[in-house]
Amino acid sequence: MTSTQSTTDSLPRRIATRLRTGGKIYGILGLLVMICAYTAIASDRFLLVGNVENLVHRTALFGILSIGAALVIITGGIDLSIGSVVCLVGVLLPYLLVEHQWSVPVAVTTVLALSLGVGLVHGLLVTKLRLQPFVVTLCGLLFYRGLARGITNDQSQGFGLEFKGLRSIATGRLPIFGEAEGAFHLPATTLVLIIFAIVAAVFLNKTIYGRYLLALGNNPEAAKYSGINTDRMVLLAYAVCSTLAGFGGMLFVLDINAAQPSDFGNFYELYAIAAAVLGGCSLRGGEGSILGVVIGAAVMVVLSNTINLVHPKYQNIEFAIIGAVILAGAIVDELVRRWLAVRRAARQSEKP
């Protein structure tokens, strides 16, 4: 094969890849729309402006965590410590601001630097010491939770009535469609998510480093031998993931106003991973789309809202419903893709 052929080859292949990941987005988008349609039909309150604001706000909080999880998953890794980092930052921020009277810039910088440090440590342990990501971040899950509880002596940490200005980062509603009472106000967190999502999507799809990340997840050995500094990319993924977890934790505590070290952020890593997988990331690495991940986060947020609005008597089986719907979505997605692959193969074999 000559070099000219290989470049012409790569265009259809790129289109094929586009369609493959794009197809996943339509799948998850279809699931989201179906759940929304069901809820809207069953409850006349679902499409109220206030509820939609709540939903995009909650999606933003989980979406930020999920983007981080997605980047790590794309490299073929996993980060189980997200929920505990959320907790650590969530209790440390009010702890430093209220208990220790630190100034806002110093406290915020400290907790974000701490999250970055956590991610760098994970990345170094995974790349330099060759420890398995599962083990490293599982220990992180336990360690940061224990640390948060130890530092605060198990007492919940909150802002009380203070720090309204800082809290508006998470509680603010931007009147982009006018100041009117019933108009949709964009939650500030959603703006943050949009910015993060665009940066992540551009990075992943439009920069050479994003290509490296995907290549590395697809085949680490091949990526390495083609001259990519794979260690640096893995390090970057873990650093970004933990920093986003820390940023998310900050937004969560600013939103909720307090964090209990014992259960704040419990299981959030699993929500983030589920959103990433729902959104088209393969746990084997090498695939993923940021938009899909954000929609994946929205699916879980809306499902919980559906149960609260339509089936409030069945709240105690919320996890079972979420689990069943996600599983059903994954099964349908897989079946549709197999069916499409069979059709495509059949069509290609028909050609002379």
């Binding site: 919940s156 106003n257 307090a258 070290p261 704040f264 609260n308 105690n316």
Partner: protein
């Protein structure tokens, strides 16, 4: 390409259906629903205690002909979300046991501004809630501490087991219990660190510390077992959340020391009541979760009918704690079985 287009169009069609389906509903669906008041009873977690409260709330709903939704949230974030969604759904009244009243002021006041809000079990005095139904946890804790002294007339080492030490009712209850055991002058503003060993002035009673388990029963049992391992000379264990004393009893039983190491309980788990009958549990301090549930719904229903006379000037309906020991356990248990429909 056509296939991809159809995949793209399908969700859009659904969205259209959703849009059409919901619009006409918005006007007429709310009217029949308004006839029956919709009330919510929100706990601070999942436990047997709340199941009994649920029975009370449900019974009140049946007696009064109102629609009652019982919500048992999973932590503070979940509790806040559940309140938001109840407000979205449209609710005529909410009775809540706030997990952290000081820091949940915003959401509590939001609820108070959009519907009728009362607190039960744990109060939020600084919020705009209409009133509080419950008991003084510090005083109940003191009663528990006095039971410890009664069970250990010669003194001894005591470990306190509790689900969580970071919610308001737990703080008061735990501190009351410690102050009761040590025989201090009552002062609910104290807050002893969890791990600190505290000794009474006469040196007879030693509180070894407080162990928490975050509602994780396996952890709760491990806490009790590890206490026995570490302190073989322990004289008593106090369990301050419903499920703590039965776990302590199991651990003590496995160590073959049931009856020798005293158990002092809070709430009315079956194992505890049987233990009181058998003499392995000194006694228990019981709240009345059934009444929390029943009275919450009754009061909310009156408030929906704008009968404000139901609110006492103190804005507090006291459902006091009681001490259950061998003298009254039988009568109490019969009454409990009746209330929970297990008879």
């Amino acid at each position: 390409m056509a296939r991809w287009t159809s995949i793209l169009v399908f969700p859009l069609l659904l969205a259209l259906v959703a849009g059409c389906g919901s619009q006409p509903q918005a006007g007429d669906a709310s009217q029949p629903a308004d006839v029956v008041p919709k009330l919510a009873f929100i706990s601070n977690g999942v436990a047997d205690f709340w199941t009994i409260a649920e029975q009370g709330a449900t019974k009140a709903g049946k007696d009064l002909g109102v629609d009652v939704t019982v919500v048992m949230p999973n932590g503070m974030t979940d509790q806040t979300r559940k309140v938001e969604d109840l407000l979205t759904r449209g609710i005529d009244g909410i009775a809540i046991s706030p997990i952290d009243s000081e820091n949940q002021i915003d959401i509590l006041n939001k609820a108070a501004s959009e519907t009728i809000l009362i607190t039960h079990d744990s109060d939020a005095p600084n919020s705009n809630r209409v009133m509080y139904i419950g008991m003084d946890n510090y005083l109940a804790g003191l009663m528990c501490g006095e039971l410890v002294r009664k069970g250990l007339p010669d003194g001894g080492k005591v470990m306190i087991l509790i689900g969580r030490a970071d919610q308001d009712n737990a703080k008061g209850r735990r501190q009351g219990c410690i102050d009761g055991i040590l025989g201090r002058d009552p002062d609910s503003s104290r807050n002893d660190p969890l791990g600190e060993v505290l000794t009474s002035e006469d040196g007879k009673y030693i509180v070894l510390g407080t162990l928490t388990d975050q509602f994780d029963r396996a952890k709760g049992k491990a806490n009790a077992e590890d206490t026995l391992t570490r302190h073989p000379d322990i004289a008593a264990m106090v369990g301050l959340f419903t499920y703590n004393p039965p776990l302590a009893m199991e651990a003590i039983d496995r160590a073959g020391k049931l009856g020798k190491i005293k158990v002092i309980a809070f709430d009315e788990a079956d194992a505890v009541l049987q233990g009181i009958k058998d003499g392995t549990v000194v006694g228990t301090v019981v709240q009345d979760p059934y009444e929390y549930g029943y009275q919450s719904i009754r009061v909310l229903n009156e408030l929906v009918k704008e009968n404000t006379a139901v609110v006492p000037p103190s804005k507090f309906i006291d459902i006091p704690a009681r001490v259950i020991d061998q003298s009254n356990v039988d009568a109490f248990w019969e009454d409990l079985k009746e209330k929970t429909g297990r008879k």
